[in-house]
C-alpha cells in the first residue's frame, strides 16, 4: 500500500466521527521506483491531506517532508526538489506488512502483502435497514440470523403504504 492510498483511507466503524487519518504501524516498508510525473503530482496535491501525509511518511521512516503545507507557488515552480520528495513519499514508499490503527477507537486493521484489510466485524457495521411493508418481506439488508440480534439503528420507511 502506497501513502497516496493511505491518504484516502478512513475508518468507518459505526459511531466513529473522525476515522482519519489512520496511524501506521510499520513492520516492513519497501521502496519501488516509479516514473516521475510532475503533472500527476500537481493534480493530486490539492486532494492530499498534508498533515496526514507527513505523519504517515515519518512512521515509514521518511522525514524529509516539510511540516507545514507548502503554498501553490512551490508546487507550480520549475524547481522540482519539493515535487521529487512528494513523489517519493506518495508513490514509492510501500507498506508491505504492518497495521493501520483507527485514531478514535484504536481498532487495528492488518496490512498483509501490501493489502490493507479494512473489513469490519458485523457489530461494527452501520446498519440501515429498509422493511418493505407491501410484500411483508424480510428487511433487505439482513445477511444472517445473527444480524437480527445486532441491529440497533433500525429505520422503517413509513411512506410505504400497506395495501
Amino acid at each position: 500500500m502506497r501513502l497516496i492510498t493511505h491518504n484516502m483511507l478512513s475508518c468507518n466503524i459505526k459511531g466513529v466521527t473522525n476515522g482519519f487519518p489512520l496511524k501506521i504501524e510499520a513492520e516492513k516498508v519497501v521502496e519501488k521506483e516509479v516514473d516521475f510525473n510532475p503533472d500527476f503530482l500537481r493534480h493530486m496535491f490539492a486532494k492530499i491531506e498534508w498533515k496526514a501525509l507527513v505523519e504517515a511518511a515519518r512512521s515509514m521512516g521518511y522525514a524529509e517532508l516539510p511540516e507545514d503545507s507548502p503554498d501553490a507557488t512551490v508546487i507550480e515552480s520549475a524547481d522540482e526538489t519539493f515535487l521529487r520528495k512528494l513523489h517519493h513519499a506518495l508513490l514509492e514508499l510501500h507498506l508491505e506488512e504492518g497495521a493501520l490503527v483507527c485514531p478514535e477507537t484504536g481498532r487495528k486493521f492488518p496490512v498483509n502483502k501490501g493489502i490493507p484489510n479494512m473489513l469490519l466485524h458485523e457489530d461494527e457495521v452501520k446498519q440501515t435497514v429498509c422493511i418493505d411493508l407491501r410484500k411483508g418481506n424480510e428487511p433487505t439488508r439482513i445477511r444472517s440470523p445473527k444480524d437480527r440480534v445486532l441491529m440497533q439503528d433500525v429505520c422503517i420507511d413509513l411512506s410505504l403504504q400497506v395495501p
Binding site: S10, G19, M118, L119
Partner: protein
C-alpha cells in the same frame, strides 16, 4: 481470451485502429483457429464447409489466418492474459462477463485515452483480470494513472495482486466492503469506475456470504448489491467520471439507467452479448452535463458500429 472466429473481428471493429485489418479479414471467412472453444466449434465447421462453394484458394485462407493471428496477438498483448491470471478455488475466475466487460473497455479504448483519467478504480476485482486489462489498455499512452481495486474477499484481493504482478503492472488493492473505507476521502476523484457486480438472482440470504458466493449472489433480481454500489459510485466519480457496469437483462438494466438518470447520469449500451446461460449488457454512464461532448466523441464510433452491423448481416447473407 478465446478465439472467437468472426466474433472477434466484430469486437475489434469498434476500435478504429484495427478497422482496416478487420474489413480485410472479414471479407474472407475465418480459418479454423488452433483451439476454438466448444461453443464456437460448430459455427467454424459450418463456415469451413462453405469454403469450396466460395472458391477461396488455399493461399487466401492462409493469408486470412495470418492476418487474424497478427490482429489477435496484438489484441492479447493489450488485455490481460488468461494464462497468467492467478486463481484460487474461492475466487471467481474470468468468464464471459469479464470478457464482455474487457471488450467494452477495448471498444472504448480511444475515448478512454482521450478522456485522460487520473484515477481509475474497480469495485469487486476478483481475479484481477479486468483491472489488469484496463491498465494494459491505457499504460502505453497514459503511464501515470493511479489505479485502485477493492474486493470484499481477502483471497480475491491477494489473487488480484498476483495477477497484477504476473503482468508487470501495479495497482493499489484494498480489502473492503464495496468502497466503504474510501468513500469519504476519495469522493469526487475517480475518473473511470469499472464494476462487475454479483448480478445473479439468488435468495436474499446468500448475498454477502463469505468466499466465492460473494462474487455472484445478487439477491432479488440480482439487484441487492448493484443497488448498494450505485450511490457509492455516484459519490466517488469526479465531474468528468465514467462508469462501466455489467448487468443481465434480468437485472432490469433500463430501471438502473432510469435510477442513474435521476442522479444526473446519461447512459448507453457499450456491449450486448448473449451466452448460453445469460444475456449480458455492459452499460456506460457519464454525468449529463458533458452529454454534448461525449456525443461528439462517440459519433465516429457509432458510425463504425453501424457499419460493422450492416457488414455482419451482409456476410451472413453471403454465407447462406
Amino acid at each position: 481470451m478465446g478465439l472467437k472466429g468472426p466474433l472477434h473481428g466484430l469486437i475489434i471493429l469498434y476500435n478504429p485502429t484495427f478497422f482496416f485489418f478487420c474489413t480485410l479479414s472479414c471479407f474472407i471467412p475465418p480459418s479454423p483457429s488452433p483451439s476454438p472453444p466448444c461453443s464456437v466449434k460448430s459455427t467454424l465447421l459450418e463456415v469451413s464447409q462453405d469454403y469450396p462453394k466460395r472458391r477461396f484458394t488455399k493461399s487466401s485462407i492462409l493469408y486470412a489466418f495470418n492476418l487474424q493471428w497478427t490482429v489477435m496477438s496484438e489484441m492479447t498483448s493489450r488485455t490481460a492474459d488468461v494464462m497468467r491470471v492467478s486463481s484460487h478455488c474461492e475466487v471467481y475466475e474470468p468468464c464471459d462477463d469479464s470478457f464482455a466487460l474487457v471488450d467494452a473497455l477495448l471498444a472504448d479504448q480511444t475515448n478512454l485515452i482521450n478522456h485522460d483519467p487520473k484515477v481509475c478504480m474497480e469495485i469487486g476485482c476478483g481475479s484481477g483480470y479486468v483491472i489488469t486489462s484496463l491498465i494494459l489498455l491505457l499504460k502505453e499512452k497514459l503511464p501515470n494513472v493511479h489505479y485502485l481495486a477493492t474486493d470484499t474477499n481477502q483471497i480475491a484481493a491477494r489473487v488480484t495482486n498476483e495477477t497484477l504482478q504476473a503482468h508487470g503492472v501495479s495497482a493499489e488493492v484494498v480489502c473492503t466492503d464495496i468502497a466503504s473505507c474510501l468513500e469519504e476521502r476519495l469522493a469526487g476523484l475517480v475518473d473511470v469506475m469499472v464494476v462487475n457486480p454479483p448480478y445473479v438472482p439468488t435468495p436474499e440470504y446468500e448475498v454477502g456470504m463469505e468466499g466465492i458466493a460473494s462474487a455472484w449472489a445478487g439477491g432479488e433480481n440480482g439487484r441487492s448489491v448493484i443497488d448498494r454500489v450505485l450511490p457509492v459510485v455516484d459519490r466517488l466519480l469526479s465531474e468528468k467520471g465514467w462508469f462501466y457496469l455489467v448487468t443481465l437483462t434480468s437485472n432490469y438494466p433500463s430501471e438502473i439507467c432510469l435510477g442513474m438518470r435521476k442522479r444526473g447520469y446519461a447512459s448507453r449500451i457499450v456491449v450486448q452479448r448473449s451466452t448460453e446461460e445469460e444475456n449480458l449488457i455492459i452499460l456506460k454512464f457519464w454525468r449529463d452535463k458533458d452529454e454534448e461532448s461525449v456525443d461528439k466523441e462517440t459519433s465516429s464510433e457509432s458510425f463504425v458500429k453501424q457499419f460493422s452491423r450492416s457488414l455482419s448481416s451482409f456476410m451472413e447473407k453471403q454465407w447462406r
